[in-house]
């Protein structure tokens, strides 16, 4: 029986990606009452399935100077206000034999015009800084790229929003809008254990790849194109910097350090929907090959997981990669005659704060508030203080990790898990724990620690005993989806071990079919 709930707020934000969470915080800081609804956990869409790159803008400098300028400005702001989410690794552009030689200087010049700081270095210096790169590098320069943790970014924004009166519902689907006399006045929602309606004055669609579907529920059409990009997470960190190629952005030419791993991406394949994404073998092969060009030996190295996300692109001006990566705030009162509804579309993770600012500005205007945006100045961690440890810090703390090490691959302690467990709001989900702690993001991909984390959830009363098997199975099966595309020798051996534990020892392969014993 689903519980029936009635809620009331000023603004409903649909979508818990970076933009949605950014809007939630922005509105909360302005004293505007808002409720965010997200169908899964934070960053379920493009936000959690991108490269985790805080762009310097170098990738857009030539093709889209405006976007590049936007990127570098936001890069600097986020580096300042949200340093706990950012690893300022720096970036390097490398020119390899076969690249169009005229592009290098064009790119350098374009960066300078866009205000992106560049430091040109010799090939020898490039190799000294990054011994793993292709030794045939001909020219190189440094740029201020950074690596960002998109989950932490979303969570910090939501936590901050909550501290200032905002609310959020995760794992909740929007099922419809209540429209009265051409005005949206409510949002219908449903989750595993409740359904209901939120009364509101304004709805903001920040649903990324699901924007078209959401807008359609309100009877509105949004011109969107979806482009799938696949990425692979590697077992180790190949380079300490983001590596870019000296050429127009193309498939597989971005290699980013992310904690103790490296991520290679990406591809660009048009898809009809953000759901049901499949990763093709050809994409995997392409990514591994391109990675091998940038860092020889890559193809033989161990990969941990593959994932795919969808770029929600505005369908104006070109397709796929060429479609503009700028963003658009749509006031549906003006464009479609439906008031109380605005959409924010397009954009990228790096400019999330700016997107949220522009959207919140419009929302505030509509609600008659003239409180200004504070997110460019106000530090994120002031509002949401939860520990997040940088790579080597975690290593230095292994003896002190309170409560013991639960995930050895990523060095996550019991105390950390307990701290985030309450955020699950009674809904036990190991994937949610993973997003909040990096548990299970290492070499064994949660093979061991998932069980340990589950025990903690049960002991804390967050997971009832009748959900133990289903929670574990859903984690293991979801994990498997990411591992299957890259199942080569090392990972196959890892899975053999995990299968021995969960099937042969714990008998979980028979759980779905058997009635409860005896």
């Amino acid at each position: 029986m689903l519980r029936e709930t009635k809620l009331k707020t000023d603004v409903v934000i649909v979508g818990g990606g970076a933009t949605g969470c950014g809007i939630a915080r922005d509105l909360a800081l302005r004293g505007i009452d808002a409720l965010l609804i997200e169908q899964k956990d934070v960053a379920y869409g493009a936000t959690g399935r991108c490269h985790g790159l805080l762009h310097s803008g170098v990738r857009y400098a030539v093709s889209d100077p405006h976007a590049a300028r936007e990127c570098i400005l936001e890069n600097q702001i986020i580096g300042r206000v949200a340093p706990e989410c950012v690893e300022p690794v720096g970036g390097m552009v490398i020119e390899l034999p076969g690249d169009d030689p005229s592009y290098f200087l064009k790119l350098l010049e374009a960066c300078r015009s866009a205000g992106i700081k560049t430091i040109q270095i010799t090939p020898g210096e490039a190799k000294a800084l990054e011994p793993a790169i292709n030794p045939k590098v001909t020219r190189s320069f440094l740029v201020p790229d950074s690596s960002i943790d998109p989950f932490l970014l979303c969570l910090q924004n939501l936590r901050a929003a909550e501290r200032h009166g905002g609310r959020y519902l995760l794992h909740t689907k929007v099922t419809g809008f209540t429209i009265s006399s051409g005005k949206v006045i409510g949002v219908k929602f449903e989750s595993d254990d409740e359904h209901g309606e939120v009364q509101c004055k304004l709805v903001i669609l920040a649903a990324g790849g699901w924007s078209k579907q959401m807008a359609a529920l309100a009877g509105v059409n949004i011109p969107m194109e979806l482009s799938k990009g696949s990425l692979i997470i590697m077992n180790r960190r190949f380079t300490d910097r983001v590596i870019n190629r000296s050429r127009l952005p193309s498939d597989g030419d971005l290699l980013i350090p992310n904690g103790p791993t490296s991520i290679i991406g990406t591809t660009s394949i048009p898809v009809p929907s953000a759901d049901g994404l499949l990763i093709e073998t050809s994409e995997i092969e392409l990514l591994m090959r391109q990675g091998d060009v940038m860092t020889p030996g890559f193809e033989k190295a161990r990969s941990l997981r593959a994932y795919a996300g969808v770029r929600p692109l505005l369908a104006i001006g070109g397709q796929g990669r060429e479609a503009t990566r700028g963003f658009l705030v749509i006031d549906h009162e003006k464009t479609d005659g439906i008031s109380g509804l605005i959409s924010i579309l397009g954009g990228k993770l790096t400019t999330y704060r700016l997107m949220a600012e522009k959207t919140a500005d419009l929302a505030a205007e509509k609600l008659g508030s003239n409180v200004k945006c504070q997110t460019a100045e106000r530090p994120l961690f002031e509002d949401a203080i939860l520990p997040h440890y940088h790579r080597s810090e975690r290593l230095s703390r292994i003896h002190e990790v309170e409560g013991g090490l639960v995930c050895e691959c990523e060095m996550v302690g019991r105390k950390h898990i307990l701290e985030v467990a309450h955020e699950l709001k009674g809904r036990p989900d190991l994937v949610d724990i993973q997003h909040r702690t990096r548990l299970g993001m290492g070499s064994c991909q949660g093979g061991f620690c998932a069980f340990r984390a589950l025990m903690i959830l049960v002991e804390e009363g967050i997971c009832p005993p009748d959900k133990v098997e289903s929670v574990l199975l859903s984690f293991l099966n979801l994990r498997w989806k990411g591992i299957m595309p890259i199942l080569r020798d090392d990972m196959a051996r890892e899975e053999h071990l995990n299968y021995a534990i969960y099937a042969s020892l714990f008998d979980l392969d028979r759980a779905a079919h058997q009635k409860e014993d005896p």
Binding site: A503, D507, D517, P518
Partner: protein, 423 residues
């Protein structure tokens, strides 16, 4: 030195082969990198729990199941070995482990349900004495699950809650103040339970337990094949105690492995540890020697006959190369069908993965077959997970196949080397 029998692989199959060859008077070399998957498994020996192509109901009579599988699936190793050889092997292994200080139960007539840390039951046949009190738990039996604060691979409260939900009369208590170390794994905790710790634990159990209860503990007794620790614990506690297996490192598995290893050593088997077998060299139409590597150091090992007990994926006996599965030492054909997907889209399902059933086919003497369907080498035998036609994990038959094929392969190799007569 030219050995009579060289066995590659130090797991259950390899040790069984080396031991049986040695018993027949053969000089045996046991080659391998380490203890194999025994350290990771529960310390029990699975014979057959879920026969292939059947419903998900586990079978009660493992030997009957072996007979049935043998008659229905001609490519299953049990079809080659036969139920009598399997039964004999299980008694033989039990005798050895008992002599090694770590007795396994010798009741082959039925499968047992062993409680595991997640609250589900593992269906298996031979169990260590330290599990006996907890097998086939009836619902009415009052249970006390004992936990240790800080031990990260085991939660007594969770286990008790899950069992309660399933209708058991169970409660839990967690012992505080036992040094578990910052990692909290069972190896570290077992340090404490070597001497005085056992007495302390026994007394604490005695203090907590209520009349009629039996006590389940995490596997924290020392990883030594010495049943005295367990017997001492039960004696001091004054009640029946049983261990509950969990994630690796599996201390009961380690004990079984060490017990068999000690039997190998005392039987005169020579251990070549820390080496990986790279390739073979032919001599006069037979396999003459193996090339072994320990880092950059390489050595040739000569023998009259060879037993490959190299395991499957985890141990490197077979490897995944793209879409193909290969056998890396002797380049033997694997029974992989064209366009057969190696893995299922569901990680844990009763049908398992095709990859689990792959291996090398063998003839009736356990000689691996070459590309022409005849034995690849006159003096090469195979045993264990490497054998085709069975899924050791999904069917829960890995232990039985490994021990039985190991023992028979070891015997056949010894005979082929001119020692003893074929049984």
């Amino acid at each position: 030195m030219i050995y009579d029998v060289a066995v590659i692989g130090m797991g259950l199959a390899g040790m069984s082969a080396a031991l049986s060859a040695s018993e027949m008077g053969a000089t045996a070399a046991l080659i391998g990198s380490g203890p194999g998957t025994l350290n990771l498994a529960s310390g029990c020996i699975d014979v057959m729990a879920y026969p292939p192509n059947q419903d998900n109901l586990p079978v009660d009579d493992p030997i009957a199941a072996v007979r049935q599988v043998a008659s229905e699936f001609s490519e299953h190793p049990y079809a080659i070995l036969g139920d009598k050889a399997v039964a004999k092997t299980l008694s033989w292994i039990s005798a050895h482990t008992a002599a090694g200080g770590w007795p396994l139960s010798s009741d082959l007539s039925k499968n047992h349900r062993v409680l595991t840390a997640v609250g589900r039951f593992k269906i298996t046949c031979l169990v260590p004495e330290s599990y006996l009190a907890g097998i086939d738990l009836p619902l009415y039996k009052p249970l006390l699950i004992l936990g240790i604060s800080g031990l990260r691979d085991f939660s007594a409260p969770m286990l008790a809650e899950v069992l309660q939900m399933k209708g058991y009369k169970v409660r839990s208590t967690v012992l505080q103040g036992i040094p578990v170390g910052f990692q909290g794994h069972s190896l570290g905790v077992s340090r404490f339970f070597s001497e005085s710790g056992i007495k302390q634990l026994g007394l604490q159990i005695r203090g907590f337990v209520r009349p009629g209860e039996i006590v389940g503990i995490p596997p924290i007794l020392p990883p030594m094949p010495d049943i005295q620790y367990f017997r001492e614990l039960q004696k001091v506690a004054g009640v029946e105690v049983f261990e509950i297996p969990t994630l690796p490192p599996s201390l009961p598995g380690i004990r079984l492995s060490k017990a068999l290893r000690a039997r190998c050593v005392s039987s005169g088997v020579e251990l070549w540890e820390g080496v990986h077998a790279l390739s073979m060299e032919e001599s006069g139409g037979k396999i003459g020697s193996l090339l072994l590597a320990a880092g950059p150091n390489q050595r040739k090992l000569q023998a009259k006959t060879f037993v490959m007990a190299t395991g499957s994926y985890l141990s490197g006996g077979i490897r995944v190369k793209g879409d193909t599965v290969i056998e890396p030492i002797f380049d033997l054909p694997i029974n992989q069908k064209e366009r057969m997907p190696l893995f299922s889209t569901s990680f844990l399902s009763s049908s398992g993965h095709n990859a689990g059933k792959l291996g090398v086919g063998v003839d009736s003497s356990l000689r691996p077959l070459g590309k022409n369907g005849r034995p690849a080498w006159e003096n090469l035998f195979a045993a264990g997970d490497i054998l085709a036609g069975h899924d050791p994990l999904a069917e829960r038959c890995g232990g039985g196949v490994a021990a039985s094929s190991g023992r028979i392969a070891g015997m056949n190799a010894a005979v082929a080397a001119g020692k003893g007569k074929k049984s």
